[in-house]
């Protein structure tokens, strides 16, 4: 995020970095985290992405001290904190399951952390009220969690974590149950607080847009390990593997064969289905090797002209708002998805182009 006049005053942070070193966690035989290495720098906003069940919540729980590690260490600068009990780590956390206190009113739920910190009543009240205003629940302060809707409960969970203004805040899919416009609003609010309070944030989300727009850095997990970590733009446009690509919306993934070797970033020629494509090699590709091609549906353009031209037999057309999503088949039956604003009807034969710079080629498919 680039801001016109930076309101990022040089906030002083109470630490420099939080390091997970080879953190492992298994449940019985099942391994949820496998020697995870991850560093969160002070003031940074890191988005943790990964498919369902890949260990995101486990990572947050380990970090917060709620699950003992089966291996590895967690350091806050020079202090090893993985042996500290959760209440002494001082993290804020938004639980995926909310975990609101059912016996307390919303107000008191939000006040809870402040109370534990010995904050005086008056101040507690005002901070809780502010946090509730932030999540637009000021009117519901006197209710119990059971009397709220799902989204409202989720917002209470956010307010509760924000109210204590922690150094480090861990959020586990905090906006998943909110409607689009509220989500955008709260996203902005979270970002604002992150900046004004100098919070360091570790944010689990499955919403790619959220990750890309909020984060300073995106970390993609795969089976309890970091698969790629980098600035949003990089991860988005240069995924390190087909796995990450799939995750970043490169829904068209298909194999082809390289005609010549190519280095990372070079253009590589591949062929499939009688067509020859020019693609951008993500890592080194050997001649004759099988490569995986990846392209996002919205990068496929409809129309004649230019290289990497193919014809699709369209099958399904789905309404998506501004555009439609079209599912078509190449001659050899490979399905391709594309998005377009032009009017396409099922059964058409449509010429499309796969822009070379957006068509990524991954060598050596793993997993």
């Amino acid at each position: 995020m680039r801001v016109a006049e930076s309101n990022l005053t040089a906030t002083t942070h109470s630490f420099r970095e939080l390091r997970l070193r080879g953190v492992s966690r298994s449940f019985g035989k099942a391994i949820a985290l496998k020697e995870l290495d991850l560093t969160l720098y002070a003031g940074e906003f890191v988005a943790l992405l990964g498919p369902s069940g890949c260990g995101k919540s486990t990572a947050l729980n380990c970090l917060a001290g709620l699950l003992p590690l089966t291996g590895g260490e967690i350091w806050k600068d020079e202090q090893r904190i993985d042996t500290l009990p959760p209440e002494r780590r001082g993290f804020g956390m938004v639980f995926q399951s909310y975990a609101l206190f059912p016996h307390l009113t919303i107000q008191r739920n939000v006040e809870f952390g402040l109370r534990m910190r010995g904050v005086r009543l008056v101040q507690r009240r005002s901070r809780a009220a502010e946090a509730l205003r932030t999540v637009k629940l000021a009117d519901h302060a006197h209710k119990r969690p059971a009397e709220l809707s799902g989204g409202q409960q989720q917002r209470v969970a956010i307010a509760r974590a924000l109210a204590i203004e922690p150094d480090i805040i861990l959020m586990d899919e905090p906006l998943s149950n909110l409607d689009a416009s509220l989500r955008v609003e709260l996203r902005t609010e979270i970002k604002r607080l992150h900046q004004s309070l100098g919070l360091s944030t570790l944010y689990v989300t499955h919403d790619q847009e959220e990750a890309l727009s909020l984060a300073d850095r995106v970390v993609i997990l795969r089976d309890g390990r970091v698969e790629q970590s980098g600035p949003p733009a990089t991860v988005y446009s240069r995924p390190a593997s087909p796995y990450v690509a799939a995750f970043m919306g490169y829904r068209n993934l298909f194999t082809a064969r390289a005609t010549a070797a190519a280095g990372p970033g070079d253009t590589v020629s591949v062929h499939r289905d009688g067509y020859v494509f020019q693609a951008t090699a993500v890592a080194g590709v050997q001649a004759g090797a099988e490569v995986t091609l990846a392209i996002r549906p919205d990068e496929v353009t409809v129309g004649e002209g230019g290289a990497n031209q193919i014809t699709l037999a369209t099958e399904v057309v789905e309404f998506m708002g501004r555009e439609i999503q079209v599912q078509g088949r190449m001659r050899d039956g490979q399905v391709l998805l594309l998005r377009t604003g032009s009017d396409v009807v099922p059964g058409d034969s449509v010429p499309v182009r796969l822009p070379r710079e957006r068509l990524l080629a991954f060598g050596q498919v793993d997993g």
Partner: protein, 277 residues
């Protein structure tokens, strides 16, 4: 609410059975209660629907037999035992419900034994112990002796109630800065309220009804109502039944007051995890 009523109104086979069984039970109970009260007010009652005459003399006599002092002692001792047993037993129950550790079964057994054994089998030695450390005859001694059978009860009752509570809520409390103590007081205690109430009631009953331990340890100043009652009942000439009934009415009165007070603050049927959408 309207759903509740509509469901309640529906008479199924099982509900008819349950409610009529309940009605019988309550009928027996209430008549039991009433008969004792009635007897306490009766001049003589030799069977039949109704006593021959009424009097309040038995209450006066009971009061002379020391019921007044005993009432005060009983309340003091009962409250102290309940408070101590809960504050010792609930945390232990929590630990046993949440952790499995080597040697747990030994601890469980150790905690089970005192509830299983009749107090008589250890009362004499326990009393001797208390006299030796100078607590014999004192209220403190009475309180301490009564902890033996009551603490394990609290532990036993607490365990299933703790297991009901989702660990996530506990996690949240910890993350937000609650140490174990505050977790117990601020989060678990309110969530465990029905269980704590049940435990408190049982402790109270045990305490009010425990004769041997209290009698052995107490002296006249520190004896509880039940000791006074047994003392009167031990009269080999056969105490007049209405006198016993009158003392019993004091005893019940006290217990009922405590029960009602408890129910005012805790409704054991009130869920904290109500229906949510």
């Amino acid at each position: 609410m309207s759903r509740t009523i509509s469901r309640l109104g529906k008479l199924t086979f099982t509900s008819v059975i349950t409610w009529s069984a309940a009605a019988c039970f309550i009928l027996v109970l209430v008549s039991l209660f009433a008969s004792v009260v009635l007897e306490a007010f009766s001049t003589e009652w030799r069977g039949g629907w109704w006593p021959a005459g009424f009097t309040v003399d038995w209450f006066a006599e009971a009061w002379h037999a020391g019921v007044g002092d005993a009432l005060v002692t009983t309340v003091q001792a009962a409250v102290a035992v309940v408070v101590i047993a809960l504050s010792v037993g609930v945390p232990a129950g929590y630990a046993l419900a949440r952790r499995s550790f080597p040697g747990k079964s030994v601890v469980v057994l150790l905690l089970l034994l005192p509830v299983m054994l009749p107090p008589l089998t250890y009362a004499v030695q326990l009393t001797a112990l208390l006299y030796r450390i100078g607590l014999g005859g004192s209220l403190a001694g009475v309180i301490i002796a009564n902890l033996v059978p009551t603490v394990p009860l609290v532990v036993l009752i607490t365990i299933p109630f703790v297991q009901r509570i989702s660990p996530e809520i506990e996690n949240a409390a910890r993350v937000f800065g609650a140490n174990t103590f505050r977790l117990l007081v601020r989060v678990l205690a309110p969530l465990l309220r029905p269980g704590i109430f049940a435990a408190a009631m049982l402790v109270m009953v045990r305490m009010l009804g425990s004769f041997e331990l209290t009698f052995f340890v107490a002296n006249q100043q520190s004896q509880t109502l039940v000791v006074t009652l047994y003392g009167a009942a031990a009269d080999p000439a056969g105490p007049p039944p209405p006198l016993i009934a009158a003392m019993a009415v004091f005893y019940m009165g006290l217990a009922v007051v405590l029960l009602i007070a408890g129910l005012r603050y805790v409704n054991p049927a009130d869920a904290v995890t109500a229906r949510r959408i």
